[in-house]
Symmetry: C2
């Protein structure tokens, strides 16, 4: 099985963490070395890794520290320090849920084994989900995607290929951070799939030309009613897809505590990230920008949720309908 | 009356044409000097001016040549050369319609006066249209726009201001060429209006937050059934606006010969313009891009057409309904 580097972007080798530096993609595939938990926390703070990579880095940082303190007694106070350092990196991200999980395991004992077991489960569930999604795709489909699903899209494509299905991808740039262009188009091309890049404004035009058969996106948060929060721009793709009767699939993390989309707090990013690109000023001075990092896609627009059910081992997905809860 | 430099971007002073170099905006407000029709044609070819500026430059180039040959007999052969030079600049643009008009006037006599009269009419009609649109806007409205309407939006804003209405603008970047950011946000800010810049992907999100009360866009072509061709991205804004029941207005040129939107040929631009920005490679190598320059917005999504009826002096707008033709 060949994975996208984005599928598992953190590796622990010896006493060093290798963190895929996503900010250098697609120009350079290179890893940052972190030898202390402080260095790992800095990589999160500086957004060298994102989405699934951050989750993986949180767990991997504990593994690094546990490896370095092998055989020592009472590592709990140190692990608590690590948790505090990780939690303080990006205040709006729900790392505390993850670090609390690890601290609870540390109190029970066998923490290293439990972390490794959890990561194995996570990997297995993501692969299972890719298999499952691939079964919903027919030969000669053209899939439109937005932002980046941390390496799961090339994997879905790989399973389609094994099933003898020829598929192609249309990828939105995903302004302002260009994850679609820099990450998704890159990993899909690298995996050998036909990829066409388009601007975020071309969705309706391209769907009107019958070029798209499905939309597949990820999700940063899944509310209990089936609404999802994902990268800004997702909502209008879902609206336009609905208009053209094109099925819209969302690959979601486990449900959050939010009852509905309206309960999810949307991070507003500094407008500088919109007004400049790689140091070039794009906008006139004096103009303000507005940059909500995510938007909410209501459940009615989502044909199918593929949920990473890591807490319910017997199922790796759930279905959300209008009448049935998740 | 204070006009945006984009409202009338070509000026004839003495024996020189001053052409606003839109490619340098917003960093620099500067004019290219053209002293021959060949230099003027080159400015069109190199897209130093666009949209209304190109129309104006076609007429102004004839005026330049006529001024330079003042008192000479039989200028028609020279004007035919000028027409040929202008028509060969951008094969997909309908300049021939304009140059044929001028050549017909040249055959009739009094060509200089007729060109000047036509340009005066054009200016008057554009100002009248801005007044008319302003009457459809209430106090405290927030107007979303896309691409650039060649200086008419600040003028609409100016008339609103004179009527005591406080309005604000939300402007999409308009990837890939960034006319929204570089031109529209710039001219609106310059005219003293509150302007918020957003990416092309934020339309649904921002409308869902009830921040927008109207959409106003221009149009590059108006078909006889009321469908319009405008900058890529317009169609999905219209779809999303319809979903949120936000009125969508289109400022249109006179009707073309196209019966419906499907009869309008869409220019496909080189994908390099999408894959690079100001010399920076944005996309991974090996990925292809798709860049239709325009899309078609069907008439059903347009609440009101404001048509520049320069050929019907008694009316400066027309209404397109589902049952009524234009």
């Amino acid at each position: 099985m060949k994975f996208s580097p984005l599928f598992w972007p953190i590796k622990l080798r010896g006493n060093t963490l290798y963190i895929l530096d996503e900010t250098l993609l697609p120009q350079r595939l290179s890893y940052i070395k972190a030898r202390t938990y402080q260095e790992a926390a800095r990589a999160i703070k500086e957004m060298k890794t994102r989405a699934f990579g951050q989750v993986l880095l949180v767990f991997s940082t504990f593994l690094l520290v546990l490896k370095q303190t092998k055989g020592k007694n009472s590592v709990l106070p140190l692990l608590q320090k690590v948790a505090a350092a990780l939690n303080s990196t990006r205040p709006t991200l729900p790392f505390k849920f993850l670090t609390d999980m690890v601290l609870a395991w540390a109190r029970e004992g066998d923490v290293e084994k439990k972390i490794n077991g959890f990561l194995e489960l996570l990997k297995a569930r993501r692969i299972q989900r890719a298999v499952q999604v691939s079964k919903y795709i027919q030969d000669k489909e053209a899939i439109l995607t937005h932002c980046n699903i941390s390496g799961e899209l090339p994997l879905i494509g790989e399973f389609c290929r094994r099933q003898g299905k020829r598929i192609e991808f249309f990828v939105t740039e995903t302004r302002p951070y260009m994850q679609g262009s820099r990450l998704t188009a890159w990993e899909l091309k690298r995996a050998g799939f036909p990829v066409t890049l388009m601007t975020d404004g071309m969705v309706a035009s391209i769907m009107a030309q019958n070029k798209i058969t499905k939309v597949i996106v990820g999700a940063d948060q899944l509310a209990q009613n089936g609404d999802v929060a994902n990268k800004i721009g997702t909502y209008q793709i879902a609206l336009v897809a609905k208009h053209f009767k094109i099925p819209f699939y969302a690959l979601c993390p486990p449900q959050s505590k939010a009852k509905a989309g309206k309960d999810i707090k949307i991070e507003i990013r500094p407008d500088k990230e919109l007004l400049e690109y790689e140091g070039i000023r794009l906008a006139p001075y004096g103009v303000r920008g507005f940059y909500p990092a995510f938007d909410i896609t209501p459940k009615e627009l989502i044909a199918k949720h593929f949920i990473l059910n890591i807490f319910q081992p017997n199922t790796s997905s759930g279905r959300v309908g209008r009448t049935k809860g998740i």
